[in-house]
């Protein structure tokens, strides 16, 4: 495909390199859409009354939405979504999504480790909302 950028080369990379950043804007409609396609209909992700009754500040984003949205940056950088062979995170904080309005999650990707022998790099994702990490140890292993 002529539209695809050349894939990154391990030899050109160093631990600590920032390889990309983006902002993810999430509103209630986005959560309903994710609920529908993922099959995760937990009402804490779309029903304000239910969310507050169970002690949350309000409707919160699916952790899996945030995890999925963050790795899109890595797919684009790698030039091949199938190159993401391992991806993990811990969910450290909820992302409250207001209505009306939206929440903006910031994603920054840094090279965390390089395994030249295996032909893989570990991309560490810093995923924050209002300056605080919402994902911890968000790491994607990419085969290059």
């Amino acid at each position: 495909m002529s539209t695809q950028a050349p894939r990154p080369q391990i030899a050109d990379l160093a631990v600590g390199d920032v390889v990309g950043s983006r902002e993810v804007v999430v509103d209630r409609a986005r959560l309903v859409r994710y609920a529908g396609v993922s099959g995760d209909f937990n009402p804490i992700h779309w029903n304000e009354r239910f969310a507050t009754e169970v002690g949350l500040p309000g409707v919160i984003a699916h952790g899996m939405f945030t995890m999925g949205a963050a790795v899109a940056l890595v797919e684009d950088w790698a030039g091949d979504p199938g190159a993401v062979v391992d991806y993990q995170t811990r969910f450290s904080r909820p992302v409250p999504v207001p209505d009306p309005g939206s929440a903006t999650v910031a994603v920054e990707a840094t090279i965390g480790a390089i395994d030249a022998e295996a032909g893989t790099v570990r991309v560490d994702l810093a995923v924050t909302f209002e300056g605080q990490r919402v994902l911890m140890k968000a790491q994607a292993v990419v085969r290059l």
Partner: protein
């Protein structure tokens, strides 16, 4: 009701096949903002060497959560979903999921651990592609931990 620790170590029979469809892969990728053409454009996917559209890296959660429902919705397991928080998730892809895959999943309950008023329930889904001859090929391993608050937490 407390979590039933007897479920730790349990292995479930393989699920009925999940049929991976092109439109589902497109919709999932669009929902998480994955715009790479191999999720959406069959020509691009084949041009990149794939037999069909490629799933986004976290798509396997759709398949895994169906399998996990065998545990979550089992009242005898004692997991109150209104008290559940997702603690962690990990995908290990042995090969990318592609449209046309028929995926069967074996759910394992790897551990149930009590920690400071929380029950940490870790499950592992071994997802495999079913071939026409009945053989299976490992596709993805999905490990997920749920934190369940106790009654007084």
């Amino acid at each position: 009701m407390p979590i039933n620790a007897d479920y730790s170590g349990r292995e479930y029979p393989a699920t009925a096949p999940y049929s991976v469809g092109r439109e589902k892969l497109r919709e999932f990728a669009s929902a998480v903002g994955s715009t790479h053409p191999v999720h959406h454009d069959i020509v691009a996917a084949r041009g990149s060497g794939y037999p069909d559209l490629v799933a986004a890296p976290t798509f396997a959660v759709v398949v895994a959560q169906r399998a996990e429902s065998q545990l979550i919705e089992d009242e005898a397991a004692g997991i109150d979903f209104t008290r559940v928080v997702h603690a962690d998730e990990r995908f290990t892809h042995h090969r990318p999921i592609v449209a046309g895959d028929e995926l069967v999943t074996v759910l394992h309950v790897d551990s149930i651990v009590e920690r400071r008023g929380l029950s940490m329930v870790t499950t592992r889904c071994e997802i495999a592609a079913l071939a026409a001859d009945g053989s299976t090929e490992p596709v993805s391993t999905v490990v997920s931990t749920l934190a369940v608050r106790g009654d007084d937490a």
